[in-house]
Symmetry: C2
Subunit: 627 residues, 2 copies
């Protein structure tokens, strides 16, 4: 047999699996050794998971169908036992070779690097084909075992099917959830709180807890990757920009949708944290929250970088040249909300980091090439493109609907020149620009997502101002503008502090006459009177480190203000700013707003995990205080 001979030659050269594994010349390979050889070759640096099925030729085929599906779902190798009651020496040797090597001399973690050590073994088969003694043998050798053995073949298929293709929730399964998500943080005011009706199932009313690791996930207990290279100021910023979830998640009809820098979109069951579907890789990092409506999920891909020619031209023009932000590919994608199938895609020149807005069956995205684009929500057909006169960094589009005329304004911030710009949603005509008279620094308005009080016709936006290069300090100014004219209603400076790395602003939230906003310059949270800008109270995030905290917006629920900042989530008294409770779920939050449905808080973090936390973990008094 030609193949047997070659494998033998390879093994003789010390390449592969050791002499025990290779078929001798002329020998017919057995199924178990073939599977092992193929698995080890395809997963040379090991795997965190291994699927184990029976190698007994008399076992049912459905075992292998289930094992194949789970292997595909986990991107894991599949091995076969050498009988129903023993793993066999070849299988054991392959299992050992599939451990993940400890390859970094100083122990740093990095994205896409699975934790060193032995794989978790998933036993997939009926109890007839895989004996319970295998579990004992594996555990005695130090392997963690996930025992998926069942009594019957059909039960096994059902069980695995429930893992890899769990049922998609229907809206009636999750009555507390909104049915769409049309703008950043759920609504114009950026207050994503969804109380549930009395008829809601207990998981919604009591809250659930789970952690879901995305593709680049690093362990929640580890220090920041590249901490030694980048320090406490740079390392967390790099995680937010290049590793995990930059912003918050989206909750629609019992499903959590989340975007990651790992270039994938995830749809999870909000109750269980199970993956329903994933899409990707996209052409670049996904850094906003998914927008859901018209049956589709809209996400945009981009990055924070500049090319050297942009750097040089900007320097030579003394900052006068309009920059294009975005180093590599950039696009907007629309996926079917329920199946995850790609429906349409359009490409951009500059980055598309911020989230789009969906209004009246059109999708609006502002990009790093300084334009606002409008697309038909169902087909992706381009409706119009408008020059904004400055690049968008991370400013997601918001909107205001004029109650008198019905006209919709698309509102977004841009950098260089710094402006808040309002554009007619129908025609693409620029309606107003507000530059402020303040001394804006750095990416300024283009980093921050505007907040809209639809009823009172106000737009809130903030930016760093008054940079002092000697002390490397800045102030953070927040502005209230008239939504119809862009005229400044008030502006308030919140206080000086170290110039924050990257996203140098906090996203505001407005609720019941009060604007809530954080400042990463001072690592404080503020409540301001919506009409005057007078500061009502401040709250200080302790131990937020040199990167600062307070970028993500808060959510108002159950007479509390909930905020994610640094490694913690907080419950504050919205009247006084007094801390009512806090919780450290592991990881660290970038520009993340909590989303609250019933008694669960949903978040994505910079470690590339999606998290569900019952509110009672953060503030134990919330359970009794009720909805």
């Amino acid at each position: 047999m030609k193949v047997g001979r070659k494998w033998s030659a390879v093994a003789a050269a010390g390449v592969l699996l050791g002499a025990g594994m290779a078929s001798a010349a002329g020998e017919v390979p057995t199924t178990a050794t073939s599977a092992a050889q193929m698995a080890v070759r395809m997963f040379p640096s090991g795997s965190s998971a291994v699927i184990l099925c029976s190698g007994d030729p008399k076992s049912e085929r459905s075992d292998l169908v289930a094992g194949q599906a789970l292997a595909a779902y986990l991107s894991a190798p599949l091995l076969l036992t050498q009988s129903a009651v023993e793993l066999g020496p070849n299988t054991l040797q392959s299992l050992s070779q599939l451990s993940v090597p400890d390859a970094n001399p100083i122990g740093d973690v990095q994205p896409y690097q699975p934790a060193p050590g032995k794989p978790k073994v998933y036993l997939v088969g009926t109890k007839d084909s895989l004996s319970g003694s295998l579990v004992n043998q594996l555990e005695s050798l130090g392997y963690a075992v996930q025992d998926l053995r069942t009594d019957s073949a059909s039960a096994l298929l059902s069980e695995v099917q429930n893992i890899v293709a769990p049922p998609f929730p229907s809206p009636s399964d999750a009555p507390g959830f909104p049915g769409k998500w049309t703008t950043y943080a759920g609504d114009q005011a950026h207050n994503p709180f969804y109380p549930v009706p009395d008829s809601a199932p207990s998981w919604e009313k009591e809250g659930v807890m789970w952690n879901f690791p995305e593709k680049a996930a690093v362990p929640l207990s580890q220090e920041f990757p590249d901490l030694r290279q980048l320090g406490m100021r740079g390392a967390p910023v790099k995680m937010t920009q290049s590793l995990g979830n930059a912003c918050g998640v989206t909750a629609v009809d019992g499903v959590i949708y989340a975007e990651s820098d790992d270039a994938h979109l995830y749809a999870l069951d909000a109750k269980t944290g199970q993956l329903l579907w994933q899409a990707g890789p996209t052409v670049n990092a996904l850094m906003g929250n998914p927008i859901v409506g018209d049956g589709l999920v809209y996400v945009t891909a981009g990055d924070t970088g500049f090319s050297f020619s942009q750097v040089l031209k900007f320097m030579l023009s003394q900052g006068k040249m309009q920059l294009v932000r975005g180093l590599t590919y950039s696009a907007i994608y629309a996926y079917d909300q329920k199946s995850g199938r790609l429906v349409w895609r359009q490409d951009f020149q500059g980055n598309a980091m911020p989230s789009p807005a969906l209004v009246d069956h059109a999708v609006y995205e502002a990009t790093g090439d300084g334009h606002l684009y409008a697309f038909d929500s169902k087909t992706g057909k381009s409706l119009w493109t408008t020059d904004l006169g400055g690049f968008d960094s991370m400013s997601s589009t918001n909107y205001w609907r004029d109650p008198e005329t019905g006209r919709v304004e698309i509102i977004v911030g841009v950098s260089d020149a710094n402006n808040v710009v309002a554009v007619d949603a129908q025609t693409g005509k620029v309606l107003w620009k507000q530059p402020t008279t303040l001394n804006i620094f750095n990416t300024g308005m283009g980093d921050n997502t505007p907040t809209v009080d639809q009823e009172n016709g106000l737009v809130f936006q903030d930016s760093v101002v008054d940079n002092d290069p000697k002390t490397n300090t800045v102030d953070l100014a927040i502005y209230a503008m008239d939504a119809r004219t862009g005229k400044m209603v008030w502006s308030t400076k919140l206080g000086r502090g170290s110039s924050p790395p990257a996203y140098k602003a906090g996203v505001a939230m407005v609720h019941d006459g009060v604007v809530y906003v954080g400042s990463p310059a001072t690592s404080r949270y503020y409540a301001l009177d919506e009409k005057t800008g007078h500061v009502l109270w401040t709250f200080h995030f302790q131990n937020s480190g040199p990167a600062g905290a307070g970028r993500g917006s808060a959510v108002y629920a159950y007479d509390r203000l909930w905020v994610a900042a640094g490694p913690k989530v907080y419950a504050l008294d919205p009247k006084t700013g007094k801390e009512l409770g806090s919780y450290e779920p592991g990881g660290r939050f970038g520009i993340v707003n909590p989303v609250i449905v019933g008694k669960t808080m949903y978040l994505g973090n910079s470690y590339d995990w999606i998290q569900a936390i019952p509110l009672s973990k953060i503030d134990p008094t919330v359970q009794s205080s009720g909805a």
Copy 2:
């Protein structure tokens, strides 16, 4: 049955597979429908390949073992037929759902987006279990079929094993190949030509032809992705920086190693183009050529970007501040040469785009944070770090061994300040710096990889100079330096032309007293007298477009000069520069040097393909002129 009920509910909501696919309430799911449901759920946007095995419960289990392995290898879904002779309606429906949607309204291609259309179907099973009528049925429905059916179960396993885990070549299988690859383009002179002995196998002596698509591959016949957004000047540069293979490949002991912007390292059989192993994803794009020696393969990950804070500080300092190049994560990796297992990894602050050099069991890498790092080749232990006084962009490290003292100099170019720097390999002490007196522009010396004539003690390097912002034109200057002192021996300007986007230089190659170098400013290739810098001839690349051509180094073989530029490979007369032949293999070349072993040219391209071309395709007269 709980699961059956839920699937039914899902189907009733119109989510999934149509009424025909879902099990009715209480019904036990069959193996075929389960496999189909799981496959469609896990591959919501379809797949370019589908594995088809028999759903007959009486078929051998080894069919499914083979099918599972091929599905893992191709990252493809696996479906089952409903009998040995017919696909069945559910399987056909799933197959139809696994077609790739045509999702871009204007038809653009992008990395990671498979071509729209029906999947290719791989039939995996014995002829007993999968009838030949299935092939006819599939083909009549418009599916391309790869018929892998065999007469016996053991033959099937062997066949699939040969695809997913082909034998690793031994050095004696490929006698013409070098046994290591210690520096960029194979040796200090950057002339990667390896003639084969008379005893070599015919495939080495005659040449082979194959194309291997990497993970982000776009069809070779398509126009550049984002051409509409970026134009003919920007679109090909973005491919080189963010999509495919920026530089050339590595050839060692019958294996082609190639790095891609898709963040994977590939090891292919040089004879067949079959994948032997792949490693990744790494933390960032891989943009050099893999360095091979001491049993390991060394690759480095980085990107071309700058952060906004770097942009701003550079502007405010009027270009005086030392820039850090590199936006996201960056590292060096060492993999086992034969198995692909990760052995060690170290992380950097700035980018690590250029290739390292391996000298005397130490690995040297210069990075975007302006340092040269030395590591023990086997353990990755840090030996020393030296400040270079400027950032490295794409300048790979080279070396010169002083024949009198035995001292090894590590030689590299850096930008801002622009210098060629020589560092003592043992101590990390800077031995000399050569800034030249010319007016260097842009990334200058830090983009270009120095070339060393070991015997004559000369270092060659080039950079763009004399920028004229009014016409956006530059000249390209090439320098010869004394390797021991860094003293300038000569410099020659090659002529003005449009300032090229990105990599603004050509890598030089020196052979037998002549320096060969291209200029993307003029899109010409030049031969210069090594001792004087006098130009001997020039050759003009026709139709190279506004991005320019001539970045990659040439290879001298069989009395011809072989160059890859733009969409073509050329054979030139090294005495006159006259074109002897050319060939258009599909795709486009970035900073790619051809590698020639025997009568085959090996290349990687910006479309994310690795290519093998017999020399006779480029110059039909080469076969008879012989080695």
